[in-house]
């Protein structure tokens, strides 16, 4: 506790960075996953291609992606943007499938009713199908959020500061308080993001019973 009392400002700074590095890709990933998921649902052939491609991207270990990213997008190796892009890739990979499955789960008769009421194309997607898919998408988003927060800690190796720095520094200098603070802060951040998504999902789906929540 003494360590934390002396360093809480640094911890907060790192947590802020961490939130940025894990959170921005979550938003970017979701925005990109919606059209991909929609395409996967719309055309059966693209479903397999998109799901397989996403699965392969998700297979690449994070440390490898962080290191290879600058070679692909032409940035400096220590640039935080590498981490943001890499995390966005993971998020898209995870969510494209979720969005597709969520949209597929919208019952046919609902889509047909919407069409009959004059909902077409993009308006039907955003007005009817996506809102109904929110619980499924939120479940995927929760997985992505928790895993993003954990993966981002590895970015310390490529010189991008966030809560993972506390583990590495605590390990190198044998300061247990620092190492444990890092782990606890990371878990707290992950759970906070998770809770935020649960609340957001409930607010977006007021028609669901209060006890149901996002599965």
């Amino acid at each position: 506790m003494d360590w934390l009392a002396a360093h809480w400002r640094d911890v907060l700074d790192l947590a802020g960075n961490h939130l940025y590095l894990a959170g921005v890709p979550l938003v970017v990933g979701l925005v990109l996953a919606v059209p991909l998921g929609w395409a996967a649902k719309r055309w059966d052939r693209s479903y397999l291609a998109i799901i397989t491609g996403a699965g392969l991207l998700y297979t690449i270990p994070s440390l490898a992606l962080f290191v290879v990213m600058p070679l692909i997008i032409g940035t400096q190796i220590l640039d935080p943007i590498n981490v943001v892009v890499a995390m966005s890739v993971y998020t898209v990979a995870l969510l494209a499938r979720t969005v597709a499955d969520g949209l597929k789960a919208v019952p046919d008769h609902v889509e047909q009713s919407a069409t009959a009421m004059g909902y077409k194309g993009v308006r039907r997607l955003f007005g009817v199908e996506l809102p109904l898919a929110v619980p499924v998408i939120a479940a995927g988003l929760r997985v992505a959020a928790v895993s993003n927060v954990s993966i981002v800690t590895v970015a310390s190796v490529v010189g991008v500061p966030q809560l993972g720095n506390l583990f590495i520094d605590g390990f190198n200098r044998v300061i247990w308080a620092e190492l444990v603070t890092g782990i606890v802060a990371t878990v707290v951040l992950a759970l906070a993001l998770d809770a935020l998504i649960v609340v957001g999902s409930r607010l977006l789906t007021p028609w669901r019973t209060a006890g149901g929540g996002a599965a």
């Binding site: 392969l56 490898a64 927060v149 190796v157």
Partner: protein, 252 residues
């Protein structure tokens, strides 16, 4: 890209105690040992939970442990156990212990989820023709649960491969060494080369395991044997539902 070609092109990087061959071998060896240990614990446990319906909290507990950052766990274990162990064990034992712990949730979820999702009618029919609990488990539940169980195994293997890379930070061998040492020495050819090797290894393993899964799963489940007579409507085919890989995997 040139620095990559240079690194891969240098024969000195391929042989010896810290060459690509040796590091690749180490990486596969850690992965195999970890999977053996983790499977020995998680698969029987998952089958038991699924078959008896008892102890479901174990699965929930294992899943919620995923929020714990892998790197933090690795470093904490190394800092704690490392000084107590002699020689190379100081690096291998804590890392492999953590790798095994992290492989448990996907294995457990796959085994439990597989058994749990077996059609109740199939189970009832098995009891109805006079099978005992053990027979139902091995002759009906396990074959039906295989797609999900193997998805769990795939997720676990990929995760172990990825995490073993990170375990190079507290000093484990394997392909991660190239990345960590390369960055430490500002030798980005080495770091990038190592990263590429890890990525290729992961994708190759995923492909091999996917093929293996196709061969092991009963044709009656995948619909391969039935030829053209499958239901041709838009209901999700068994092949689709048999592959929920993404959700089982943890973060690394």
């Amino acid at each position: 890209m040139n620095i990559l070609f240079e690194w891969f092109g240098d024969p000195a990087n391929w042989s010896g105690a810290d060459g690509i061959g040796q590091r690749l071998w180490e990486h596969l060896w850690y992965t195999a040992v970890t999977m053996l240990v983790a499977s020995a614990v998680a698969l029987p446990l998952g089958l038991w939970v699924g078959h008896t319906g008892r102890g479901r909290w174990l699965v929930t507990l294992a899943n919620s442990a995923r929020a714990v950052p892998t790197l933090g766990l690795l470093l904490a274990a190394s800092l704690w156990l490392g000084p107590k162990l002699p020689g190379d064990f100081a690096y291998t034992v804590p890392s492999i212990a953590v790798l095994a712990i992290l492989a448990v949730p996907p294995l457990l979820a796959g085994a439990y989820g597989g058994i749990d999702s077996v059609d109740g009618a199939a189970r009832d029919a098995a009891y109805g023709v006079g099978m005992r609990g053990r027979q139902v488990l091995w002759q009906v539940e396990v074959p039906n649960a295989l797609p999900l169980m193997l998805s769990g195994v795939r997720s676990a293997v990929l995760q172990v491969v990825a995490t073993a890379t990170i375990a190079a930070i507290p000093g484990l061998g394997g392909l991660g060494r190239f990345i960590i040492d390369g960055i430490a020495l500002a030798d980005y050819g080495q770091a990038g080369g190592g990263a590429l090797l890890v990525a290729v290894l992961a994708v190759l393993l995923e492909g091999i395991l996917a093929l293996l899964q196709r061969r092991l799963v009963s044709p009656g489940l995948t619909g391969r044997a039935v030829g053209g007579s499958r239901n041709d409507d838009d209901s999700a085919g068994p092949e689709e539902s048999a592959d929920p890989t993404v959700d089982l995997r943890t973060s690394v």
